[in-house]
């Protein structure tokens, strides 16, 4: 795992990608620091970090597009997969490689709060909280990028797809607020969800009976839920979609509220996508 991590870091800083990522992030942090902190004479450093989230979403693909796609394209995955190292270790090594580049960049930006502290009072607890939040938020995005990179052997496709998905995450709060919240639409949504699960099962097993059974079971459960407690369907769509609302969890950190639930959320979100990447690579070997 350490070998993979070392190799990833090496590749980032031997090719231009690591530098490009760092340069663009540092440039925008510096820019927002000057604009919000220096020009307006504000000691609120966290507003810089939250301003930077959108820029960060745009440049995450630089970091992640290569991870799995390039190995598949150059057939170097053959070396990794036939060496005595387990698949989860390979994936985690790669993930940590990308995450360390982010960590390194964030450590450099720490200069700015230090500069700020020479000119005024900085609330260090708030700044540290903001950094932890930003790092976890970034790690979650990188996990998504890692997973998408494992779906293709083309870096450009991986980058564009990652970009699209992250953009969707960006807009998801706006989407949620304009969705219908009544019980009927929640019910329909639940039924569609059951159908989707059944379909996923069908693609995995190619068995009509099992997936049909799952669909029927799902519909029955949905219907039963409706008769027992119809209120669970009001606002269901928003509830489900908010699982993917990465940004809303970040708000707490930037406001200086330090609570455990967004930390758990980000770590589990990342873990799920790292796990999905492992599953994806495993599946490729069986197909």
């Amino acid at each position: 795992m350490l070998a993979i991590l070392k190799k990833e870091l090496n590749t980032y800083f031997k090719s231009m990608t690591g530098y490009i990522f760092m340069a663009s992030l540092l440039f925008f942090v510096g820019l927002f620091f000057v604009l919000t902190n220096l020009m307006r004479m504000s000691p609120q450093y966290n507003s810089v970090l939250s301003n930077i989230t959108f820029v960060f979403m745009l440049i995450v693909p630089i970091l992640t597009m290569r991870l799995m796609a390039e190995e598949a394209k150059q057939k170097t995955d053959q070396l990794l997969l036939t060496s005595p190292i387990s698949l989860p270790k390979i994936v985690i090594g790669k993930y940590l490689g990308a995450v360390s580049v982010l960590l390194l960049t964030l450590m450099i930006t720490f200069i700015y709060p230090l500069i700020l502290s020479t000119m005024g009072t900085v609330n260090w607890g708030e700044v540290f909280g903001g950094y932890i939040g930003f790092f976890l938020f970034g790690s979650a995005l990188i996990a998504v990028g890692l997973f998408i990179s494992s779906l293709t052997d083309n870096q450009v496709i991986a980058a564009v797809a990652t970009f699209t998905v992250l953009l969707l995450f960006w807009f998801i709060d706006a989407i949620i607020s304009s969705l219908p919240a009544d019980q009927t639409s929640g019910l329909i949504f639940a039924a569609i969800l059951a159908a989707a699960i059944a379909f996923v099962f069908y693609t995995a097993t190619r068995n009509w009976y099992i997936s049909g059974g799952i669909f029927l079971l799902g519909v029955l459960a949905v219907a039963a839920g409706y008769f027992i407690k119809p209120s669970i369907y009001s606002g269901l769509i928003a509830k489900v979609l908010s699982w993917f609302s990465l940004l809303s969890r970040y708000q707490d950190f930037s406001l200086g509220i330090f609570s455990i639930s967004p930390i758990v959320y980000y770590i589990s979100f990342s873990s799920v996508f790292v796990y999905l990447t492992v599953r994806m690579l495993e599946k490729k070997r069986w197909s």
Partner: protein
């Protein structure tokens, strides 16, 4: 050392490998022959744990590659069809990385690397970026990678592709040397290579084993006649007539005039009859000098073509 039982790989409807079974003894060099798309690389990819078999199992030294992949992979060095190289690493960085992921540690690590670089003769490019190397060097770096950690089993997919004739001979000799203390499976579609290096040959076609034997046995078993190619100075008709009178001739054919005043003849005789002496005496009596006499044994090429095109079971 290697046991393969009913190995099958299906890609959707396409059957890439169709229940192949074979064993390789310790210290044996096995040649894998087959036309493109016969399933050679697929079989090797399954043996090394890169892809999974649909059915059947592969045991390396008694360890199932699917059930205990990490244990089994420790014993295998693999050179895939396209050497898995990172272009933006230097040769020594690359070998360092491979040593890392193979878990080679300790004092011997450096020595092992140096020895292998010597063996495949890449010491002079150790500081160069891999992407700037020629195909031959890349191939040798790939080979070096498979040798790292001194695995007991070597699986080499077309190891001499892209090398020049001198390097090919060097690598072949190297493989022969390695065969003394390694078990090797080697695929190729260069037939002289297989007959020069391998102790046993498996010919596969369309995912099935069509022949499996030593190269010598294969050429002997298939030839049901002995053939001679002759160039004789003399009139075509009278020469043919003189040969026709000999005993044991199955088939006689003129190949035409290649050199003025001579004729080329192909003689096919009963395998139990050695025609060369009677031919000499007969021609000497008739004073037709024999300018050339060549025995036309069935080469691996002929066997290969025969078994892969006629789909005939050879044993």
């Amino acid at each position: 050392m290697i046991q393969v039982e009913n190995l099958t790989k299906r890609y959707g409807q396409h059957l890439a490998v169709d229940s192949i079974s074979f064993t390789v003894e310790t210290g044996e060099i096995l040649g894998f022959l087959g036309p493109n798309g016969a399933g050679k690389s697929t079989t090797m990819n399954i043996l090394t744990g890169y892809i999974s078999a649909t059915e059947g199992q592969a045991l390396i030294n008694g360890i199932d590659i699917l059930e205990q992949p990490e244990e089994a992979k420790k014993m295998i060095g693999y050179l895939p069809e396209f050497p898995p190289l990172y272009g933006d690493m230097t040769v020594s960085e690359y070998l360092d990385f491979v040593s890392d992921i193979k878990g080679i540690t300790g004092a011997n690590r450096k020595k092992n690397m140096e020895k292998i670089m010597d063996l495949v003769k890449i010491g002079d490019v150790r500081g160069r970026m891999i992407k700037n190397l020629s195909k031959g060097y890349k191939q040798r770096v790939g080979l070096a990678q498979s040798l790292l950690g001194n695995p007991e089993v070597l699986i080499l997919d077309e190891p001499t592709v892209g090398l020049d004739p001198k390097q090919i001979i060097e690598i072949r000799n190297l493989i022969k040397d390695l065969g003394k203390d390694h078990t090797i499976i080697l695929s190729s579609h260069i037939l002289p290579e297989v007959s020069a290096v391998c102790e046993r040959v498996i010919i596969i076609n369309k995912g099935k084993i069509v022949a499996s034997d030593t190269p010598d046995n294969l050429s002997r078993g298939l030839g049901n006649s002995s053939r001679l190619n002759l160039r004789i100075a003399g009139q075509e008709k009278s020469v043919l007539k003189a040969i026709q009178e000999l005993h044991g001739i199955i088939h006689l054919e003129s190949l035409g005039v290649r050199e003025p005043g001579t004729v080329d003849v192909m003689v096919e005789a009963d395998p139990n009859v050695d025609l060369r002496r009677p031919l000499f005496h007969a021609m000497a009596r008739a004073s037709y000098p024999i300018l050339m006499m060549k025995s036309m044994d069935m080469t691996l090429e002929d066997i290969f073509l025969q078994v892969t095109t006629q789909e005939k079971e050879v044993r």
